[in-house]
Protein backbone atom coordinates (compact mmCIF):
# COMPACT_ATOMS: atom_id res chain seq x y z
CA UNK A 1 0.00 0.00 0.00
CA UNK A 2 2.68 2.42 1.13
CA UNK A 3 4.86 1.32 -1.70
CA UNK A 4 2.32 2.07 -4.44
CA UNK A 5 1.62 5.46 -2.93
CA UNK A 6 5.24 6.50 -2.96
CA UNK A 7 5.54 5.11 -6.46
CA UNK A 8 2.66 7.21 -7.74
CA UNK A 9 4.09 10.27 -6.08
CA UNK A 10 7.36 9.52 -7.78
CA UNK A 11 5.58 9.20 -11.12
CA UNK A 12 3.86 12.56 -10.64
CA UNK A 13 7.12 14.31 -9.85
CA UNK A 14 8.72 12.68 -12.84
CA UNK A 15 6.02 13.67 -15.30
CA UNK A 16 6.01 17.20 -13.90
CA UNK A 17 9.72 17.40 -14.53
CA UNK A 18 9.26 16.13 -18.08
CA UNK A 19 6.57 18.71 -18.75
CA UNK A 20 8.72 21.43 -17.27
CA UNK A 21 11.69 20.63 -19.44
CA UNK A 22 9.77 20.19 -22.63
CA UNK A 23 8.02 23.50 -21.98
CA UNK A 24 11.40 25.09 -21.50
CA UNK A 25 12.86 23.99 -24.79
CA UNK A 26 9.79 24.16 -26.95
CA UNK A 27 9.57 27.76 -28.14
CA UNK A 28 12.76 28.18 -30.18
CA UNK A 29 14.53 31.26 -28.98
CA UNK A 30 15.12 33.97 -31.54
CA UNK A 31 18.72 34.63 -32.47
CA UNK A 32 20.57 37.23 -30.44
CA UNK A 33 21.22 40.70 -31.81
CA UNK A 34 24.88 41.64 -31.53
CA UNK A 35 26.32 44.98 -30.50
CA UNK A 36 25.25 47.98 -28.51
CA UNK A 37 21.69 49.12 -28.35
CA UNK A 38 20.21 52.51 -27.56
CA UNK A 39 16.74 53.26 -26.36
CA UNK A 40 15.24 56.24 -28.09
CA UNK A 41 11.79 56.98 -26.80
CA UNK A 42 9.90 53.74 -27.18
CA UNK A 43 12.26 52.39 -29.86
CA UNK A 44 15.35 50.31 -29.41
CA UNK A 45 18.07 51.21 -31.89
CA UNK A 46 20.35 48.27 -32.64
CA UNK A 47 23.86 48.16 -34.00
CA UNK A 48 23.76 47.91 -37.80
CA UNK A 49 26.33 47.66 -40.58
CA UNK A 50 27.56 51.17 -41.47
CA UNK A 51 27.15 52.46 -45.05
CA UNK A 52 29.77 51.12 -47.47
CA UNK A 53 30.56 50.99 -51.13
CA UNK A 54 32.83 48.37 -52.66
CA UNK A 55 33.34 46.79 -56.07
CA UNK A 56 32.78 43.11 -56.79
CA UNK A 57 34.29 40.57 -59.20
CA UNK A 58 32.09 41.84 -62.04
CA UNK A 59 32.96 45.49 -61.35
CA UNK A 60 29.46 46.02 -59.96
CA UNK A 61 29.20 48.52 -57.14
CA UNK A 62 28.12 46.78 -53.95
CA UNK A 63 26.48 48.80 -51.19
CA UNK A 64 24.11 48.16 -48.32
CA UNK A 65 21.31 48.43 -50.88
CA UNK A 66 22.58 45.27 -52.63
CA UNK A 67 21.42 43.35 -49.57
CA UNK A 68 18.07 45.05 -49.13
CA UNK A 69 15.53 42.45 -47.94
CA UNK A 70 18.24 39.81 -47.96
CA UNK A 71 19.89 37.75 -45.30
CA UNK A 72 23.61 37.52 -45.94
CA UNK A 73 26.75 35.86 -44.67
CA UNK A 74 29.92 37.98 -44.59
CA UNK A 75 33.57 37.11 -44.18
CA UNK A 76 37.07 38.55 -44.67
CA UNK A 77 39.81 36.83 -46.66
CA UNK A 78 42.38 37.36 -49.41
CA UNK A 79 43.15 35.26 -52.45
CA UNK A 80 46.84 34.67 -51.78
CA UNK A 81 46.27 33.49 -48.21
CA UNK A 82 47.44 30.00 -47.52
CA UNK A 83 46.49 29.51 -43.89
CA UNK A 84 42.81 29.56 -43.00
CA UNK A 85 41.27 31.14 -46.10
CA UNK A 86 41.24 28.01 -48.25
CA UNK A 87 39.35 26.22 -45.46
CA UNK A 88 36.99 29.17 -45.08
CA UNK A 89 36.32 29.13 -48.80
CA UNK A 90 35.63 25.40 -48.70
CA UNK A 91 33.14 25.99 -45.89
CA UNK A 92 31.58 29.05 -47.55
CA UNK A 93 31.18 26.95 -50.67
CA UNK A 94 29.06 24.58 -48.57
CA UNK A 95 26.86 27.50 -47.54
CA UNK A 96 26.71 28.58 -51.19
CA UNK A 97 25.62 25.15 -52.34
CA UNK A 98 23.10 24.74 -49.53
CA UNK A 99 21.48 28.12 -50.24
CA UNK A 100 21.98 28.30 -53.99
CA UNK A 101 18.30 28.11 -54.80
CA UNK A 102 17.25 30.35 -51.91
CA UNK A 103 16.82 33.91 -53.25
CA UNK A 104 16.68 35.37 -49.73
CA UNK A 105 20.26 34.46 -48.92
CA UNK A 106 23.45 36.02 -50.35
CA UNK A 107 27.16 35.81 -49.56
CA UNK A 108 29.71 38.62 -49.25
CA UNK A 109 33.47 38.04 -49.03
CA UNK A 110 35.68 41.09 -48.47
CA UNK A 111 39.33 41.05 -49.51
CA UNK A 112 41.60 42.45 -46.81
CA UNK A 113 44.42 42.69 -49.35
CA UNK A 114 42.53 44.88 -51.81
CA UNK A 115 45.63 46.30 -53.50
CA UNK A 116 46.65 42.84 -54.63
CA UNK A 117 43.14 41.46 -55.03
CA UNK A 118 42.00 43.50 -57.99
CA UNK A 119 38.63 43.06 -59.67
CA UNK A 120 40.33 40.93 -62.32
CA UNK A 121 41.90 38.67 -59.73
CA UNK A 122 38.66 38.29 -57.83
CA UNK A 123 36.87 37.53 -61.08
CA UNK A 124 39.36 34.79 -61.82
CA UNK A 125 39.10 33.50 -58.25
CA UNK A 126 35.29 33.31 -58.26
CA UNK A 127 35.35 31.74 -61.72
CA UNK A 128 37.77 29.05 -60.59
CA UNK A 129 35.61 28.39 -57.57
CA UNK A 130 32.75 28.06 -60.03
CA UNK A 131 30.30 30.38 -58.28
CA UNK A 132 27.76 32.89 -59.59
CA UNK A 133 28.41 36.57 -59.03
CA UNK A 134 24.83 37.48 -58.14
CA UNK A 135 24.87 34.98 -55.27
CA UNK A 136 28.37 35.39 -53.91
CA UNK A 137 30.01 38.81 -54.15
CA UNK A 138 33.78 39.04 -53.69
CA UNK A 139 34.58 42.68 -53.03
CA UNK A 140 37.64 44.88 -53.10
CA UNK A 141 37.96 48.60 -52.44
CA UNK A 142 39.71 51.14 -50.30
CA UNK A 143 41.84 49.32 -47.75
CA UNK A 144 41.09 51.67 -44.88
CA UNK A 145 37.37 51.36 -45.54
CA UNK A 146 37.50 47.56 -45.53
CA UNK A 147 39.49 47.38 -42.30
CA UNK A 148 37.24 49.91 -40.67
CA UNK A 149 34.04 48.14 -41.59
CA UNK A 150 35.54 44.82 -40.49
CA UNK A 151 36.36 46.16 -37.07
CA UNK A 152 33.60 48.58 -36.29
CA UNK A 153 30.64 47.09 -38.15
CA UNK A 154 31.27 43.35 -38.25
CA UNK A 155 33.42 43.11 -35.10
CA UNK A 156 35.89 40.99 -37.07
CA UNK A 157 39.64 41.39 -36.72
CA UNK A 158 41.50 42.33 -39.86
CA UNK A 159 44.86 44.02 -39.95
CA UNK A 160 48.19 43.90 -41.63
CA UNK A 161 51.01 42.27 -39.71
CA UNK A 162 54.23 41.50 -41.48
CA UNK A 163 55.26 39.04 -38.79
CA UNK A 164 52.37 36.72 -39.59
CA UNK A 165 53.03 33.95 -42.16
CA UNK A 166 50.56 35.51 -44.55
CA UNK A 167 51.25 39.14 -43.65
CA UNK A 168 47.80 39.67 -42.14
CA UNK A 169 45.95 38.84 -38.97
CA UNK A 170 42.34 38.11 -39.54
CA UNK A 171 39.59 36.10 -37.97
CA UNK A 172 38.04 33.16 -39.73
CA UNK A 173 34.61 34.32 -38.68
CA UNK A 174 31.44 34.09 -40.74
CA UNK A 175 28.86 36.69 -39.76
CA UNK A 176 25.16 36.27 -40.22
CA UNK A 177 23.44 39.54 -41.10
CA UNK A 178 19.68 39.91 -41.08
CA UNK A 179 17.43 41.91 -43.39
CA UNK A 180 17.77 44.93 -41.11
CA UNK A 181 21.57 44.84 -41.41
CA UNK A 182 22.00 43.63 -37.86
CA UNK A 183 24.51 40.92 -36.83
CA UNK A 184 22.65 37.83 -35.65
CA UNK A 185 25.38 35.24 -35.40
CA UNK A 186 29.13 34.69 -35.47
CA UNK A 187 30.62 31.35 -36.51
CA UNK A 188 34.06 29.86 -36.95
CA UNK A 189 34.36 29.53 -40.71
CA UNK A 190 37.02 26.87 -40.41
CA UNK A 191 34.87 24.41 -38.45
CA UNK A 192 32.39 22.04 -39.97
CA UNK A 193 29.96 21.94 -37.05
CA UNK A 194 29.99 25.70 -36.54
CA UNK A 195 29.04 26.12 -40.19
CA UNK A 196 26.27 23.56 -39.71
CA UNK A 197 25.00 25.77 -36.91
CA UNK A 198 25.10 28.73 -39.30
CA UNK A 199 23.05 26.84 -41.88
CA UNK A 200 20.52 26.03 -39.21
CA UNK A 201 20.44 29.62 -37.93
CA UNK A 202 19.75 30.94 -41.43
CA UNK A 203 16.56 28.90 -41.44
CA UNK A 204 15.66 30.16 -37.97
CA UNK A 205 16.18 33.72 -39.10
CA UNK A 206 13.98 33.20 -42.14
CA UNK A 207 11.19 31.90 -39.88
CA UNK A 208 11.46 35.04 -37.81
CA UNK A 209 10.60 37.10 -40.90
CA UNK A 210 7.85 34.73 -41.98
CA UNK A 211 6.18 35.11 -38.60
CA UNK A 212 5.98 38.88 -39.03
Amino acid sequence: MNKTKSFSRYAVVCSLLVILFSACTKPEKTLPIFGERNIEGSDTIYHTIAPYSFVDQDSSVITNATFKDKIYVADFFFTSCRTICPIMKTQMLRVYEAKLSDPEVLLLSHSIDPEYDTVGLLHDFAGRLGVKSEKWHFVTGNKEDIYKIAQTSYFATAMEDKSEPDGFIHSGAFLLIDKNQRIRGKYDGTKDDDVNRLLNDIERLKKEYEAK
Binding site: T79, S80, R82, P86, I87, K89, L93, R128, G130
Partner: protein
Protein backbone atom coordinates in the same frame (compact mmCIF):
# COMPACT_ATOMS: atom_id res chain seq x y z
CA UNK B 1 105.31 -2.38 -32.69
CA UNK B 2 105.55 -3.72 -36.20
CA UNK B 3 104.83 -7.17 -34.98
CA UNK B 4 101.82 -5.91 -33.15
CA UNK B 5 100.38 -4.35 -36.23
CA UNK B 6 100.94 -7.54 -38.11
CA UNK B 7 99.07 -9.51 -35.54
CA UNK B 8 96.28 -7.02 -35.65
CA UNK B 9 95.86 -7.36 -39.39
CA UNK B 10 95.94 -11.08 -39.02
CA UNK B 11 93.24 -10.96 -36.42
CA UNK B 12 91.28 -8.57 -38.50
CA UNK B 13 91.20 -10.74 -41.56
CA UNK B 14 90.17 -13.69 -39.45
CA UNK B 15 87.38 -11.63 -38.05
CA UNK B 16 86.27 -10.56 -41.49
CA UNK B 17 86.24 -14.13 -42.68
CA UNK B 18 84.12 -15.08 -39.75
CA UNK B 19 81.77 -12.21 -40.34
CA UNK B 20 81.46 -13.07 -44.02
CA UNK B 21 80.71 -16.63 -43.07
CA UNK B 22 77.97 -15.55 -40.68
CA UNK B 23 76.63 -13.14 -43.21
CA UNK B 24 76.37 -15.68 -45.99
CA UNK B 25 74.96 -18.38 -43.85
CA UNK B 26 72.36 -15.89 -42.72
CA UNK B 27 71.78 -14.50 -46.15
CA UNK B 28 68.19 -15.52 -46.67
CA UNK B 29 67.12 -14.48 -43.22
CA UNK B 30 68.97 -11.22 -43.59
CA UNK B 31 67.09 -9.99 -46.65
CA UNK B 32 63.90 -10.70 -44.79
CA UNK B 33 65.16 -8.50 -41.99
CA UNK B 34 65.94 -5.69 -44.42
CA UNK B 35 62.53 -6.00 -45.91
CA UNK B 36 61.11 -5.84 -42.43
CA UNK B 37 63.04 -2.69 -41.45
CA UNK B 38 62.22 -0.97 -44.72
CA UNK B 39 58.56 -1.80 -44.17
CA UNK B 40 58.77 -0.17 -40.74
CA UNK B 41 60.51 2.84 -42.24
CA UNK B 42 57.84 3.12 -44.90
CA UNK B 43 55.13 3.06 -42.21
CA UNK B 44 56.92 5.73 -40.21
CA UNK B 45 57.35 7.99 -43.22
CA UNK B 46 53.75 7.46 -44.19
CA UNK B 47 52.30 8.31 -40.77
CA UNK B 48 54.52 11.37 -40.36
CA UNK B 49 53.76 12.34 -43.94
CA UNK B 50 50.05 12.33 -43.29
CA UNK B 51 50.48 14.66 -40.29
CA UNK B 52 52.65 17.02 -42.32
CA UNK B 53 50.21 16.90 -45.22
CA UNK B 54 47.38 17.93 -42.93
CA UNK B 55 49.52 20.70 -41.51
CA UNK B 56 50.90 22.17 -44.74
CA UNK B 57 48.83 21.03 -47.69
CA UNK B 58 45.27 19.98 -46.89
CA UNK B 59 44.09 23.57 -46.40
CA UNK B 60 44.16 23.88 -50.15
CA UNK B 61 44.17 20.37 -51.55
CA UNK B 62 41.71 19.05 -48.90
CA UNK B 63 42.17 16.06 -46.65
CA UNK B 64 40.80 13.73 -49.27
CA UNK B 65 43.07 15.25 -51.93
CA UNK B 66 40.16 16.38 -54.05
CA UNK B 67 41.25 20.02 -54.36
CA UNK B 68 38.84 22.94 -54.68
CA UNK B 69 37.19 23.88 -57.95
CA UNK B 70 39.74 25.14 -60.46
CA UNK B 71 41.59 26.99 -57.69
CA UNK B 72 43.47 24.13 -56.07
CA UNK B 73 44.16 21.07 -58.21
CA UNK B 74 43.40 17.54 -57.01
CA UNK B 75 46.07 15.16 -55.80
CA UNK B 76 43.87 12.09 -55.45
CA UNK B 77 43.82 11.61 -59.21
CA UNK B 78 46.50 13.55 -61.01
CA UNK B 79 48.27 12.72 -64.23
CA UNK B 80 50.58 15.60 -63.41
CA UNK B 81 51.81 13.88 -60.26
CA UNK B 82 52.36 10.65 -62.15
CA UNK B 83 54.49 12.34 -64.77
CA UNK B 84 56.37 14.98 -62.79
CA UNK B 85 57.76 13.44 -59.64
CA UNK B 86 60.79 15.72 -59.44
CA UNK B 87 58.79 18.89 -60.05
CA UNK B 88 56.36 17.87 -57.32
CA UNK B 89 59.24 17.35 -54.87
CA UNK B 90 60.62 20.78 -55.70
CA UNK B 91 57.29 22.61 -55.47
CA UNK B 92 56.61 21.37 -51.94
CA UNK B 93 59.59 23.33 -50.74
CA UNK B 94 59.95 26.12 -53.28
CA UNK B 95 56.40 26.62 -54.53
CA UNK B 96 55.27 26.99 -58.13
CA UNK B 97 53.44 29.51 -60.28
CA UNK B 98 52.17 29.79 -63.82
CA UNK B 99 49.76 27.58 -65.69
CA UNK B 100 49.61 23.87 -64.91
CA UNK B 101 47.42 21.41 -66.76
CA UNK B 102 46.14 18.64 -64.54
CA UNK B 103 43.84 15.95 -65.90
CA UNK B 104 43.22 18.16 -68.92
CA UNK B 105 42.11 21.17 -66.87
CA UNK B 106 44.03 24.39 -66.55
CA UNK B 107 45.05 25.71 -63.13
CA UNK B 108 46.89 28.95 -62.63
CA UNK B 109 47.31 30.20 -59.13
CA UNK B 110 50.48 30.44 -57.17
CA UNK B 111 51.24 27.62 -54.76
CA UNK B 112 53.47 28.90 -51.96
CA UNK B 113 56.30 26.57 -50.98
CA UNK B 114 57.19 25.61 -47.42
CA UNK B 115 60.87 26.54 -47.21
CA UNK B 116 61.23 25.23 -43.69
CA UNK B 117 60.65 21.60 -44.76
CA UNK B 118 63.67 19.36 -44.20
CA UNK B 119 64.67 16.67 -46.71
CA UNK B 120 63.20 14.08 -44.37
CA UNK B 121 59.90 15.93 -44.14
CA UNK B 122 59.67 16.23 -47.92
CA UNK B 123 60.36 12.48 -48.16
CA UNK B 124 57.61 11.81 -45.64
CA UNK B 125 55.04 13.97 -47.44
CA UNK B 126 56.02 12.42 -50.76
CA UNK B 127 55.61 8.95 -49.25
CA UNK B 128 52.15 9.92 -48.08
CA UNK B 129 50.80 11.59 -51.22
CA UNK B 130 52.35 9.02 -53.55
CA UNK B 131 50.85 6.08 -51.66
CA UNK B 132 47.36 7.35 -50.92
CA UNK B 133 44.21 7.71 -53.01
CA UNK B 134 44.98 6.38 -56.48
CA UNK B 135 48.76 6.35 -56.02
CA UNK B 136 50.96 3.35 -55.21
CA UNK B 137 54.54 4.34 -55.67
CA UNK B 138 55.87 2.38 -52.69
CA UNK B 139 58.75 3.46 -50.49
CA UNK B 140 60.66 6.62 -51.33
CA UNK B 141 64.31 6.96 -50.42
CA UNK B 142 65.56 10.08 -48.68
CA UNK B 143 68.87 10.16 -50.58
CA UNK B 144 66.98 10.41 -53.86
CA UNK B 145 64.91 13.29 -52.47
CA UNK B 146 68.02 15.12 -51.26
CA UNK B 147 69.49 14.84 -54.76
CA UNK B 148 66.33 16.24 -56.35
CA UNK B 149 66.08 19.06 -53.81
CA UNK B 150 69.69 20.06 -54.38
CA UNK B 151 69.01 20.37 -58.06
CA UNK B 152 65.88 22.48 -57.77
CA UNK B 153 67.42 24.91 -55.34
CA UNK B 154 70.09 25.65 -57.92
CA UNK B 155 67.57 26.68 -60.54
Amino acid sequence: MKQNKHRFINLNSKLIALLLFILFSNCSRNSEATRFTSEIKFRQYYVQGQLLYEQHCSNCHQKDGSGLGLLYPPLNHSDYMDQNFEKVICMMKYGIKGELVINGKSYNKEMPGVLSLSDLEVTEIATYIYNTWSHQKDSIDISGITRILNQCSQQ
